[in-house]
Amino acid sequence: MNDLLNQIRLVGDWLTSSQQWHGDDGIPHRLAEHLTYSGLSLLFATLIGLAFGLLVGHTGRGAFAVASVANLARAIPTFGLVVLVVTLAGLSTTPVLVALVALAVPPILINTFEGVRGVDPDARDAAKGMGMTGWEVLLKVEVPMALPLILLGLRVAAIQVVATATVAAYPGLGGLGRFIVDGLSRNDYELVIGGSAVVVALALVVQAVFTALRRAIVSPGLRPAATKS
């Protein structure tokens, strides 16, 4: 217990010392870097994952390919991929971003696809029967009904990207992982634990954002059916 209080005090001291809030090594700069990597890769991954997920889910064509790609992609060790990209392409942001996008697409793709494919066939049949065009069926029925799963996919992707962006500090990139990696190499435990605290805080914010998003945009009519996430 004492130890826990000690740790908290340590984190507090680290967070409140003024040097953490200025310059290239300050929290604001590292956070901005982290958010840039994560945000950009998530944006691209969302565009790709949603487009293909909706297409395959709506038409039902290519389902097997989507499932295979997603299964294979889940097995890729993210740490290995990021290190490999840096070793092969040198230390620059773009290749790492590409790797992050590659990691974030599968959960978005598979969940979007599953969400659309899982739409109650009766609801789809009724929508068509009432005279909705293909686009109307997609946008007014399939997407709103798939929304819980789409958001789940986005959340998993976001968590993965934030975590992998942390690890990306190891081969030399910026972001919040820098504190931990630098602390480790300098044997500066205060830095390690302070950096970890910021990373945890960011993860909690991401989690909270998705919970709020879910409350805001998922229809209450769908809540009882989807207890997941």
């Binding site: 130890d3 740790q7 299964n71 294979l72 889940r74 097995a75 890729i76 060790p77 993210t78 740490f79 290995g80 991929l81 290190v83 490999l84 840096v86 070793t87 092969l88 040198g90 599953e114 968590i159 934030v162 975590a163 942390t166 690890v167 190891y170 081969p171 992982g177 931990i180 990696v181 480790l184 435990y189 390690v192 634990i193 950096g195 970890s196 605290a197 990373v199 945890v200 993860a203 909690l204 991401v206 989690q207 207890t227 997941k228 996430s229």
Partner: protein, 221 residues
């Protein structure tokens, strides 16, 4: 990467077969024991959540919050208590499996048809026996689907543990980076993927043997 360095030096792999096998074993242990521990925690917890529905949302939220914490940060928090040991890697990995395993146990139990449950009760099963002998077997396909996801991501995450010196095949990823030598990185990455895929395939096989009645009904992950 140095100029003229090939992507793969096959000779290196040939020279390190024994060592690679050793680290593969370590990797499997680090990746799969957490899944086993996770299952040991999730099954009773899932049964509780199924029985008392109100426990479920807070439990799931807690598991999801844990899952959202990046592995590197979680490792660092545990270093203080468990040192640079395998436990420091396995405890966080165990915690990560919960966000997949608990909902799948609950969904699996929910997949038991009501008439089956009632028939079992009517035949005189006690609650405990009914859960163990009737409900859990029926839940197996959905639970295994969760185990597959947990195992694959656990095996892939082990490598990060190398940052505290316990990463199984992750050892070669960091070695390769330090030496600016891609062969070990590629070898380790490919081996980790293969471990994940083979484990996945074996789990599918195990489930078929375990639940011959569910064959053909592909359970969703």
């Amino acid at each position: 990467m140095r100029d003229g360095e090939p992507l793969i030096r096959w000779v290196w792999i040939g020279d390190h077969v024994g060592e690679l096998a050793h680290y593969t074993g370590v990797h499997l242990r680090l990746g799969l024991l957490p899944v086993l521990f996770g299952l040991i925690i999730s099954v009773p917890l899932g049964i509780l959540c199924h029985r008392w529905r109100w426990i479920y949302p807070p439990t799931l939220t807690a598991a999801n919050v844990l899952y959202s914490v990046p592995s590197l940060a979680l490792f660092m928090i545990f270093v203080r208590y468990t040192g640079l040991t395998e436990r420091t890697v396995m405890i966080p990995l165990t915690l990560y499996t919960l966000s997949v395993l608990i909902p799948n146990v609950v969904d699996g139990l929910a997949s038991v048809p009501d008439p089956v449950r009632q028939a079992a009760t009517a035949m005189g099963f006690s609650t405990v026996r009914r859960v163990i002998q009737v409900e859990l077997p029926i839940a197996v396909p959905v639970v295994v689907a969760g185990v597959r996801v947990a195992a694959v991501s656990s095996i892939s995450l082990v490598a990060v543990g190398q940052l505290i010196g316990q990463g199984g095949l992750g050892y070669y990823i960091i070695r390769g980076l330090q030496l600016d030598f891609p062969t070990p990185i590629i070898t380790a990455t490919v081996l980790i993927m293969l471990l994940a895929l083979v484990t996945d395939a074996l789990l599918v096989l195990a489930q078929r043997l375990l639940t011959p009645w569910a064959r053909g009904k592909g359970a969703k992950a």
